[in-house]
């Protein structure tokens, strides 16, 4: 039970902050009533429940979901504009706050949904200059295969971290991360082409276009063994994941027989010797097939692109399937809003998918509403997000990647955090669950040491300077500056108390200030968004 007693920052050290802040919808019954009831349960009483499951279902969510509203809410997060910033950025900076306040919620979101409307020349130039590997053609990538790790992967990982940290098109980065996991592929030279031309290209575009591009992506077809699947020997791997992970979802209503039949439909979708997409009619099974009730009658064997239309037809069936709309809607809501979206929320986003034929922006407008954000429980940052948010908000300088020895400081932290880019090996992508990542607290703290621990030495680690935090070199001044730069002014009282305690020993000491920033980055406040 003790985990409930001091559940949030309303504990003794903190002045009471009301959870019924104006930005939240009231969710009955009161928090106090919940705690009282649960306390009784732990003591062994049987009978009273905190909230009747039937009531919860009537509210359109799984039992006890309502309780998360209370337990997972940040009472301090009152400003709805900042709630938007937390979810669409990889770390809310002081200049992000300035931008959203200047533009307002709606215009800020509209801009982020149209990345081309945001001038990102500085970041584009930075990436193009520092990391030409990011733009390598497939032919160049293949030529580098023997030195792939040193000369391509390491700098590209670094480029992705820096783009996440320094691009103004933050929502595009968040969506790129989302789709990278949705269409996950383990590392390979063509994988980088997929990341650029399939994932980034369509991250805020049309979902159907992304599926169609992915189906022709050599990296995907190699990774899921589609290239070896022929009428003489069918491999079901890609067929299964195309349905289970990419479109209709594991409960999308298909059977093992459907997987096998779809694998037959897909025979012939392969690559050539340069690992470019190629359809080979001589590999294709022209026999009769039925997939999820869609009939493909037997046809005479032919050449050219004969038979290729079958998979294209079935792809449209999958893209337009209501289960796909719900699957994508649910995942987007989990990514941006909450782990247990309600049926009402899912239906609304799925309706936007159906109405627009899979327009991702249209779905995001329904996901990122004031109502949804106001009721969104705090979410644990995944390690990439956590690390990048520290780079963004602590004002560190990130020197260019230069050689292998320079790899450790930035990308090496992601390895230690078990979230290295392109390193998840199975097709489902890195998990987005708090309990998966929560065990890595020491690793997270140590990553913060590597972000703010290097005082000005040029090289592999980011370079930190305490000076920007000391414009007003008093305890209150430094705490206020940390609050402004790292927390949008909504730092919890308990963190403020702790930093005050640390700084008041000597607020003009550079190392005390550096340590205060480290503690702020390690704090529970900074783990969530």
């Amino acid at each position: 039970m003790d985990e409930l007693d001091n559940r949030d920052d309303e504990s003794s050290a903190t002045p009471p902050l009301r959870t019924d802040a104006p930005t939240e919808r009231a969710v009955p019954p009161s928090r106090r009533a919940f705690l009282g009831t649960l306390g009784a349960v732990a003591a062994g009483a049987v009978g009273a429940t905190a909230i009747a499951p039937a009531d919860a279902e009537a509210q359109g969510r799984a039992p006890y979901g309502a309780l998360i509203d209370r337990l997972g809410q940040r009472a301090e997060w009152k400003d709805i504009d900042l709630r938007l910033l937390r979810r669409v950025t990889l770390g809310m900076t002081a200049s992000d706050v300035t931008a959203v306040k200047a533009l307002g919620f709606d215009r800020y979101l509209a801009e982020q949904l149209t990345p081309s409307s945001i001038d990102d020349t500085a970041c584009d130039t930075r990436i193009a200059t520092r990391y030409p590997q990011f733009a390598y053609s497939q032919a160049t990538l293949l030529a580098k295969e023997s030195v792939f790790w040193n000369e391509v992967v390491a700098p590209v990982q670094r480029a992705i971290v820096e783009r996440g940290a320094f691009s103004k098109r933050q929502l595009q980065e968040r969506m790129t991360e989302f789709w990278t996991d949705h269409f996950n592929i383990a590392n390979s030279p063509p994988r980088l082409v997929d990341y650029r031309d399939v994932i980034r290209q369509h991250a805020l575009g049309n979902f159907g276009d992304m599926v169609r591009a992915s189906m022709r992506s050599p990296a995907m077809l190699i990774y899921l063994d589609q290239v070896w699947s022929t009428k003489w020997g069918v491999n079901e791997n890609y067929a299964r994941e195309l349905m289970e992970l990419h479109t209709v979802g594991w409960n999308g209503g298909y059977t093992q027989q459907d997987v096998h039949e779809l694998a037959r439909v897909l025979t012939g979708w392969t690559i050539d010797s340069n690992r470019n997409f190629l359809y080979r009619a001589d590999y294709h099974d022209f026999g009769a097939k039925t997939v999820m009730g869609v009939d493909f009658p037997a046809r005479p064997q032919a050449g050219g692109t004969a038979g290729m239309d079958e998979a294209m037809t079935f792809a449209e069936f999958l893209i337009n399937h209501p289960a796909t709309a719900r699957h994508i809607a649910t995942k987007l809501l989990r990514w941006f809003i909450r782990p247990d979206p309600t049926n009402t929320q899912i239906n609304a986003v799925a309706a936007a998918y159906t109405a627009t034929g899979g327009d991702i922006k249209a779905m995001l407008r329904v996901v990122l509403t004031r109502n949804n954000l106001a009721n969104a429980p705090a979410k644990l940052k995944r390690p990439f997000h956590y690390y990048v948010s520290a780079l963004r908000t602590t004002g560190v300088t990130v020197d260019p990647w230069s050689d292998w020895n320079n790899w450790e400081g930035v990308s090496g932290s992601l390895w230690d955090l078990a979230h290295q880019i392109f390193a998840w090996q199975t097709p489902d992508g890195y998990p987005d669950r708090a309990e998966y990542w929560a065990g890595l607290m020491v690793n997270r703290w140590n990553a913060m040491s590597s972000v703010v621990g290097n005082w000005g030495q040029v090289g592999q680690y980011p370079r930190f300077s305490p000076t920007p935090f000391m414009q007003l070199p008093t305890t209150a001044g430094v705490v206020a500056e940390i609050n402004r730069r790292m927390f949008g002014g909504e730092m919890t009282m308990s963190l403020s108390t702790e930093l005050t305690r640390w700084l008041q020993v000597n607020p003009t000491s550079n190392s005390r200030v550096q340590q205060a920033v480290y503690y702020a980055a390690c704090s529970p406040d900074f783990q969530y968004y």
């Binding site: 985990e3 499951p53 006890y64 782990p339 929560a438 607290m441 020491v442 703290w445 640390w502």
Partner: protein, 451 residues
């Protein structure tokens, strides 16, 4: 209470769901209620708690698809030699220095595995051959590893490991222990232990630390906030102090055991110190990689020979140090690989991805000193797809028996969902335990193979 595929990422949700489940009519008084209990678990019966004699389990994964036909070679099957003209282990009665060490009149260990012989002779090492995953024939490393570690094949909805679910359905051995499970090695918790309560990924226990100038600041900051981060942070801080208190550098292994100076050897050595420290550790997982021997396999003197020496000498040292003699601790070791390799060698003196392999079980409660096998044979017609050793015993049969009899946990339907395990008699305590603790081995060893 809900579908195990529920992707809810919220620990609070689960804790609360579980409470909802409790209030729905079970006898609460009969249950301990550890936190971290997933809400979807059906009808859990708690495993024996505190003061029980259940074992500490050490799970070892040989990553890469270890070649069971080299690790424990079937010299009694003529097709073994015809299929592997350049990489077979010489028969135990051969003149070669590289000849095998007979285990019975059919199987032998290569010289690289000699480090495991003492445990075998003490009847505390059981080898199970032609075992693996019966429900999937995936030859993808990552899929096969994932299915084995999850304890359920072909299901990406299962996000926790089988050993994690054991801990989730067991009361802690020591209620105050900060560290019930440890996942050794870099790169985060292995799936086997993902989702387990009070379980941390610790690359090197002797170097586990943070850099906070004053850890009481972290301690106070994480007194509040939400599970699971709050709990994990508190456990991590206590674990850092716990491990600091264990003198790893001064640790002297018992019985003259010498651990190799390898990652695997050092990991087992650190683990021995933690187990003997009696800190309440219940489960450990560690990997030994490098078994993907597509070319120049070298099981008699090359790459695989060296790797097997590391494996067997490290594990042999752990056995001598921790599991043998008067002061021994109750420990069970289980060793698996994701799959075996082709029965016949390829054109590069190596072997490609196959199906069945071997598994090893070590402990005082293991009915060891023998090779358990329903040998399917290596003739082409006997092989799966004409190329691979068939899986005759599902790995879950073996793990379930360990869980039930050595870890005292009856919740097998939670730990291995959708599977009804068959008891194979691999423990001395199980219902199917062999009548005699001493199988055929001794007389056969005296006779020698082919005698």
């Amino acid at each position: 209470m809900t579908d195990p595929h529920d992707e809810c990422g919220c620990q609070e949700y689960r804790e609360l769901s579980r409470r909802g489940f409790v209030t729905a009519g079970l006898n609460v008084a009969a249950l301990a209620l550890p936190s971290g209990m997933p809400g979807w678990l059906p009808e859990v019966r708690w495993a024996q708690s505190a003061n029980s004699s259940r074992d500490v389990i050490v799970s070892i994964f040989m990553r890469g698809g270890a070649d069971g036909l080299s690790l424990v070679a079937p010299f009694g099957d003529a097709a073994y030699y015809s299929g592997r003209p350049t990489i077979a282990i010489p028969r135990p009665d051969a003149a070669s220095q590289q000849r095998g060490i007979a285990l019975d009149n059919f199987f032998m260990l290569p010289q690289g595995m000699a480090g495991l012989r003492p445990a075998y002779l003490a009847n505390q090492l059981l080898i199970v051959h032609a075992t693996g995953q019966s429900a999937t024939n995936s030859r993808s490393h990552f899929e096969a590893e994932r299915y084995l570690e999850a304890g359920k094949p072909a299901d990406y909805g299962i996000a926790t490991g089988w050993l994690a679910r054991h801990l989730l359905t067991s009361a802690p051995l020591k209620p105050t222990a900060p560290l019930r499970g440890i996942s050794l090695g870099w790169g985060g918790t292995r799936l086997t232990l993902t989702g387990a309560p009070k379980t941390l990924p610790i690359p090197q226990p002797e170097n586990y630390r943070h850099y906070a100038p004053d850890d009481s600041v972290l301690d106070r900051m994480f007194a509040g906030g939400w599970a699971p981060v709050r709990d994990s942070a508190k456990d991590a801080l206590r674990t850092v102090n716990l491990l600091k208190a264990i003198g790893f550098s001064q640790y002297v292994p018992a019985n003259g055991a010498v651990y190799p100076q390898t990652d695997f050897g050092k990991g087992l050595r650190a683990l021995a110190a933690i187990i003997k420290g009696d800190a309440g550790l219940e489960a450990a997982h560690l990997d030994i990689g490098g078994w993907d021997t597509h070319a120049n396999q070298g099981p008699t003197s090359g790459t695989m020979h060296t790797l097997m020496q590391d494996f067997s000498n490290s594990l042999g040292a752990f056995w001598a140090d921790v599991m043998q003699g008067a002061g021994s601790h109750n420990v069970t070791v289980v060793v698996f690989s994701e799959f075996g390799r082709n029965a016949r060698e390829n054109g590069s003196q190596g072997t490609d991805h196959g199906r069945a392999s071997v598994a090893f079980f070590m402990g005082q409660g293991i009915a060891g000193g023998r090779v358990m096998a329903q040998w399917p044979g290596l003739q082409r017609a006997q092989l799966e797809d004409g190329q691979d050793l068939r899986v005759t015993i599902d790995h879950r049969d073996l793990l379930a028996e360990i869980v039930k009899y050595r870890l005292g946990n009856p919740n097998l339907t939670t730990i291995f969902p959708g599977y009804v395990p068959v008891e194979r008699g691999i423990t001395t305590t199980g219902a199917a335990a062999p009548a005699s603790a001493l199988p055929r081995r001794r007389s056969l060893l005296r006779q020698g193979p082919g005698a």
